[in-house]
Amino acid sequence: MDAPRDPATADPGPSPRPVKPPRATAPSSRRLVVLLAAMVVVPVGALAWLGTRVVSQQEDLAGHRVRGLLVDRLREVDASIARLMDERERELLKIAAAVPTKTDAIREYLAGPGRGAEVLVVDLEGRVLHPPLGAPMSDAERELLERTRTVWDGDALQAAVRASAAGEGRGVDHGWHGYFFGGGLNLLLWRADGDRVVAVEVSRIALLSDVVAHLPATAVDAADGTPSRILLADEGGAPVYQWGTYEPPEGEGPRATLALSPPLGAWSLRDFSPQSALPTGLTGGLTFNLGAGLLAVALALAALAVYLYRVRTREMRLAAQRVSFVNQVSHELKTPLTNIRLYAELLATELDVDPEDPDADLGDPAARHLRVITGESQRLSRLIANVLTFARGQEGRLAVRPRPQVVDDVVRAVRATFAPSLDQAGVTVQLDLHAPDRVLVDADAVEQILANLLSNVEKYARSGGEVRVTTRRDGDVTTVTVADRGPGIPAAHREDVFLPFRRLSDKLSDGAAGTGIGLDIARQLARLHGGDLRLVDPGVAAPGARFALTLHTPRPQERAP
């Protein structure tokens, strides 16, 4: 039988397919970076969003206020226009009051003191008294009738007169009446005079001209000297007149609009002001403050993130150092251990004793002592192997290297190694092997796994007196079961046992030594080998612990000659 290779001194062969161990170390630092970055970005982002909302709300508020101011200014202009209209109203009332009754007299009056006014006289029944319909008329009078057709042909003016008298009730005997002609609003000033209504026409153009004459010329800006432009627009929104030194660029809309007071309600005033004239100094300062605040917060958070990162990496470094220290120590221990084993073997040869032979004569004290030395040094080897494996696992360098082997042979070799110590513990090993084929398997890994399991049996399940090892092969999967008759593992701890550095409660491991990493290593190796190590529920009938080791063991390929 081949001497089992000592996992501690075996040198690693050519590199197999590397498989990542389940517990990752390098990606965790990347995840850490991501988390810390998020810790900085998310609050800053949230603050920035909130801040910009506040700023834009402030801007809106400022905009409203400015618009309010602009509308106030437009109202002032409207008021001055209203005063102009009042004046015109008074003038026209005087004319209306002096209009005579007879057509000829009216004509004479209008040619003279009436100063060319255009006058329409209707009675309350809807008849036109002047200009005289049906009698000879001048062209101008004909045109007047044409223009005002909508007023006298129907009841419009009379209705307005009646409505006004009824509404106010205080004997209102005059008012404005608007009608549309020539593309816009024209006005009549009507005056109720007993049984007739005298209306003096104000042509749209004359009105516009009056208003334009009344409004300021270019040089006038806002009281505080800020450039602006105010525009008087007609019924269709087309500009009639504008003043102010600011020239709005093409397509810029008005900042404030105000319809004129009646009777000129169809016209409107519009204010154009440059953006710079509006109080944006407010927003500028606010934006600056916001930016500075955000920057401060971002810096603080970034500093915190950096600190946390360094702390964490230091921890990680320390942990790595610890592992690497243990690794180094173990490596250091290997050399003297190799020497011990070497000389023990030499001694065995000289004494002509086979320390591993279970049937050897135990009467010879030298042989007995040699057996102890060999056994203990082997155990030491296994311990060191475990630690090194564990360390490699931590560093992500654990790997399995399947080679064509026979699983049953490996099991037998392990049993041979453990025979002395199990014997001493009073535990018999029963073998039930059914995997005699040559398959791809990492013998060292299997040895280490089984060694750990058997060592556990020796430590914790002596009371059972027996351990049963069975092998079975199903296609590419080989199953090895190790079942003892010890106290078993309570259900609550079934998963716990596999965690590193965990040993069961004191009562079970009383007096037993152990690093607590055996099962963790065993499972890692099993999983690396494409399988798993599980604790199987033995059932009520058979007490004790029962471990099932599954391995992925395909048949070796035919090699080309």
Binding site: S203, I205, L208, S209, V212, H214, T218, V240, Y241, E247
Partner: protein
């Protein structure tokens, strides 16, 4: 029969003379002379006939400059982008030239408009030359053309110092199309109307070939002002000098001419002036009468047939005007009668050459106005035909009446006919025709 005393004899002779035939009668008033007459003093007796009545008002010239009325003028200048360069400089020069014709009696203001209106010189006494010149110098060309607003602001400046004594004018200078505010000829005519009622006349000067002549003519005509077409801006200063001289020569304002027609006489239409014809009465008002110039009102009449050998009154003319020198309202009355005959030769002999020339002129103006309408509709050949026919007719009448003026008008019609087809040429031609149609036959430029 004993010999009559001399005065009575003279009077009798006068009466006989008057009764023999209808003679155009002049009546002299203070500063305005009124002359009224028909194109033919003798009319055909046996049929209905169209005849023309002319009422001419002439202002006395050569009156003392010191007694002239104060002028109250706003000069409104277009400073839109198209005026940049030489044009605005010439305009400034013209405004300065105007200042030379004004003195301490007069009020002047200078308004400039583009997209907005700038009052360069608010209404100021013309003696304050430094301020006015400084204002004129500030004139810079720039934006769009708010012609309506500019004119309104000019009128506002005039209103500041307007009273009974002043001669009130807005002189509007533009080289382009109005594009801000009311800009149709109708709208500007309406503005002219309302300003006329206030007694503010607008004289419009179109510079170059890009201005809107319909707009400018409408504004001037309705407001009682005059219109000028200046193709070469370097002529502006001279125009202003003459124009202001004309303003200073005004002897009468608001001359109301009321013509009452006798039975059997139907007034058809007035030619060349706006008049109100109601029944048998025609009324028209002339905004002003310049010293040394003549205003002519022409009415087309339809006269019913009468007994041969009879004489019948045709119309009674009443003129009242505001004399600017005496500040009083003067009245003049005159009348016109006609003799009816079947003798063609007699009718021929009774031709009043002067009246006939005016009639032909105004009828020719009607034709050229029609030609403009046709050309506006795109009917180029028809327009040309009308103008050619006009020229032929004018040539004929010019020969018959021995009138150089009609001959010149005929030539202008021929030139116009040549300028109908090409777009650019037509632009100039059209402005020329509209100016001719509107311009009264003054001897000099009168603002």
């Amino acid at each position: 029969m004993p010999a009559l005393p001399r005065p009575i004899a003279l009077v009798l002779a006068a009466i006989v003379g008057l009764g023999a035939c209808a003679v155009p009668i002049s009546a002299k008033a203070q500063h305005v002379t009124v002359q009224a007459g028909l194109d033919h003093a003798t009319l055909p007796a046996d049929k209905k006939h169209t005849t023309y009545l002319r009422v001419a008002l002439r202002g006395q010239e050569g009156l003392e400059p010191s007694s002239r009325p104060p002028m109250n003028v706003a000069i409104v200048i277009d400073k839109s982008g198209s005026m940049q360069g030489k044009k605005i400089e010439y305009a400034k020069r013209a405004a300065r030239a105007a200042l030379d014709r004004l003195d301490g009696r007069d009020i002047v203001s200078v308004v400039a408009y583009d997209s907005t209106v700038e009052v360069l010189v608010p209404a100021t006494r013309a003696s304050d030359r430094a301020t006015i010149l400084a204002g004129i110098n500030r004139l810079r060309a720039g934006g769009m053309t708010a012609l309506f607003a500019g004119t309104s602001k000019g009128a506002a400046e005039v209103r500041k110092f307007k009273d009974d004594k002043t001669i009130d004018r807005v002189i509007l200078l533009s080289d382009g199309q109005a594009n801000i505010g009311p800009q149709s000829p109708g709208a500007l005519a309406s503005l002219g109307n309302s300003l006329r009622r206030e007694g503010i006349g607008v004289t419009t000067i179109g510079m170059g070939l890009d201005y809107n002549e319909d707009l400018m003519v409408a504004l001037a005509r309705k407001s009682g002002g005059n219109h000028f077409f200046v193709e070469d801006p370097s002529q502006l200063a001279q125009l202003f000098r003459e124009g202001f001289g004309g303003l200073a020569s005004i002897v009468a304002q608001e001359a109301v001419v009321k013509v009452t027609f006798s039975e059997g006489v139907r007034p058809v239409r007035a030619l060349g002036v706006d008049a109100d014809i109601i029944g048998q009465t025609m009324t028209t008002t002339l905004a002003q009468i310049y010293g040394g110039e003549r205003e002519q009102i022409l009415v087309e009449l339809e006269v019913a047939p009468r007994e041969a050998g009879s004489t019948h009154p045709i119309a009674r003319i009443e003129v009242s005007y505001h004399d600017v020198l005496t500040q009083a309202v003067d009245r003049v009355e005159t009348s016109v009668a006609a003799h009816f005959s079947t003798d063609a030769a007699a009718i021929e002999r009774s031709l009043n050459r002067e009246v006939m020339v005016t009639v032909v002129e105004r009828l020719a103006a009607d034709k050229s106005r029609l030609a403009v309408q046709l050309r506006d509709q795109g009917k180029i050949e028809e327009a040309q035909r009308v103008l050619h026919k006009n020229k032929e007719w004018l040539d004929g009448e010019a020969a018959r009446l021995g009138s150089k003026r009609l001959q010149r008008l005929g030539e202008r019609n021929a030139e116009a006919a040549d300028g109908v087809e090409d777009e650019k040429q037509w632009n100039r031609t059209r402005k020329g025709i509209r100016y001719d149609n509107f311009a009264p036959d003054y001897d000099r430029a009168n603002f």
